[in-house]
């Protein structure tokens, strides 16, 4: 099987900070891949490099067989790669429906306005915003804005969704709901690459997990493999042997 998204040897430096170094990863069609790592590991930067917000210093991004390395975000979006942001970016003075229509109009299918409205309505109801179509995006709650972010990305009818912490800031009920929504999206055939800090969620959703630490690939495997990898535990919690040592001495 050829991969949907194939990232090879990606690097990006910001001044003195090597944000991402020599990172390779793949996402296959229909798969959910989790991207985890401690704060500052460079996860969001990886997303920015994939969808063209920044051009990478080195490396290559191949999506559906096309080289999209360093292409501008709107061109990447046209290829069928949509993104939901960590910090929500609603178009506040537009309604929920209009927000989703932007996604549908300028997404993979490049739809005319009338058809885009239908697709937008469908996307909004998928995430449970079907009854808030006429509400201004600025008036939604945090949970609502997160859902809108997702609906807008979905309205683009993407082949791959980049989800950047869509669960952050939600209450437990909303989190459960959102997990269900993400599952539903996967079942409709969309592949997902997601960054998440809520371990329970990412462990249950992901088919495969890639762990990043200070910009480098650290580990990869099924959720169970990754959770029991000593290097991953060290990255998250510090050196356990050292801690035990210190405790003994104290």
């Amino acid at each position: 099987m050829t991969a949907l998204l194939e990232v090879t040897n990606l690097s990006k430096r910001f001044g003195g900070l090597q944000a991402v170094q020599d990172l390779s990863l793949t996402v296959n069609a229909g798969e959910i891949v989790g991207l985890i790592g401690p704060n500052g590991a460079g996860k969001s930067t990886v997303f920015n490099l994939i969808n063209g917000v920044y051009p990478p210093d080195t490396g290559q991004v191949i999506f559906t067989g096309h080289d999209i390395t360093g292409k501008q975000p709107h061109i990447v979006a046209r290829h069928g790669l949509a993104r939901a942001h960590q910090i929500v970016q609603p178009l506040t003075r537009l309604t929920v429906l209009e927000n989703c229509t932007v996604g549908a109009c300028f997404g993979r299918e490049n739809l005319p306005l009338a058809q885009a409205h239908d697709v937008a309505r469908e996307a909004a109801s998928t995430v449970g915003l079907g009854d808030r179509l006429g509400a201004l995006a600025g008036t939604l709650t945090t949970g609502g804005k997160k859902k809108l972010e997702l609906a807008r990305a979905l309205a683009a009818r993407p082949l791959l969704l980049l989800l950047d912490e869509v669960l952050a800031g939600l209450n437990p009920t909303e989190t459960e709901g959102m997990i269900e929504i993400v599952r539903k999206i996967q079942q409709s055939g969309v592949a997902i690459l997601m960054i998440e800090h809520i371990m329970r969620a990412i462990m249950s959703l992901s088919d495969r997990i890639v762990v990043l630490n200070v910009g480098r690939w650290l580990a990869e495997g099924s959720p169970q493999q990754v959770a029991s990898d000593p290097e991953v535990i060290t990255a998250y919690l510090g050196d356990t042997a050292l801690i035990n040592n210190l405790e003994e001495r104290a």
Partner: protein, 319 residues
């Protein structure tokens, strides 16, 4: 066409065209002509400010340059005014597209400053351009109006042509707002980075909007200075009129179709009162500045924005 708003614009146009003609009131015609010019300036400026979210401080450059091209064609080459106006519109639009691709890389205050720079640079260029009369400008001889059947008839014809451009401005705003292009522009105005990630080709859309917003004001400039019979750099590239146009857009309600037109009309009326009043005749710009400050602070949505907020149902038909 089934939208009531479409017919509202048509009605306004017919009233503008017919009322001064039927009453044969020359003073009313002159006052409405100025109001129409303001509506054209404000409506097209709104495409940039209200839709795309870019404050074009130097918007008057389109008006002035259009005027110069048109007057030059009529005066020196004896081209028919209608053709001269069309040529002016197309030429200025094309030039705006070129400039737009360059200066629209800037955002916020930097873009605003760059637009002032464009206006001032072109003003200096024209002031030193001898074929266009340099600093003294161009005077049209009365013979130039012969093509429209003499000066009196020419005044009525130019008025009707300006009403036509006013209608075109309103319909243009209306159709853009209800199009995919307009949705993309408004998305840019709300959050340019998010719009790009959603797939809006931001650079092209902004440049095209800038170019479109130059077309009708350039034609209006052609007609306005043809009617005046004189054009000189100070009057053509008058930066304070540029700023007054921004006040009109904000006063009426940026981002709406009818708002800038309402703002322009109200502003023209206020301005008329101030200019004729003994006490305030020199305070026109002071008042405009104070008005802008109050709007930005207290009614950022302008008159129409206020109406929309107060009576949400009006959103449906008053666009």
């Amino acid at each position: 066409m089934r939208r009531p708003f479409f017919w509202l614009i048509a009605l306004i146009t017919i009233l503008l065209a017919v009322v001064p003609y039927v009453t044969d009131d020359v003073q009313l015609r002159e006052s409405l002509l100025l109001a129409c010019v303001y509506i054209i300036l404000a409506s097209n400026l709104n495409l940039m400010i209200g839709y795309a979210g870019y404050v074009n401080f130097g918007n008057i450059v389109f008006f002035g340059l259009g005027g110069y091209i048109c007057i030059y064609l009529v005066d020196t080459l004896h081209v028919h005014i209608v053709i001269a106006v069309l040529v002016a519109g197309i030429a200025v639009s094309a030039l705006a597209l070129l400039f737009g691709l360059g200066i629209l890389r800037l955002r916020g205050a930097f873009f605003a400053l760059a637009t002032i720079g464009v206006n001032e640079a072109i003003k200096q260029l024209v002031a030193n351009f001898e074929p266009w009369g340099g600093a003294t400008g161009i005077y049209l001889s009365l013979d130039a109006y012969g093509q429209l059947g003499g000066p009196m008839q020419a005044l009525w014809t130019t008025y009707l042509l300006i009403v036509l451009l006013t209608a075109a401005s309103l319909f243009l705003s209306f159709f853009i707002k209800n199009s995919k292009f307009g949705l993309g522009l408004i998305a840019i105005g709300q959050n340019e980075d998010a719009a790009a990630v959603l797939g809006v080709p931001t650079a092209h859309y902004k440049a095209i909007a800038y170019s479109i917003s130059a077309f009708l004001p350039a034609m209006a400039g052609g007609l306005y200075f043809f009617k005046s019979g004189i054009i000189e750099p100070g009057g053509a590239f008058n930066l304070s009129l540029s700023i007054e146009a921004i006040v009109m857009v904000m006063l009426g309600g940026q981002g709406t179709v009818i708002g800038p037109a309402v703002g322009a009309f109200v502003y023209e009326e206020i301005r008329g009162l101030l200019l004729t009043s003994e006490t305030f005749s020199h305070f026109q710009l002071v008042i405009a500045g104070a008005l802008l400050l109050l709007i930005v602070l207290f009614v950022p949505g302008g008159l129409i924005g206020y109406v929309h907020r107060r009576w949400p149902k009006t959103r449906r038909w008053l666009e």
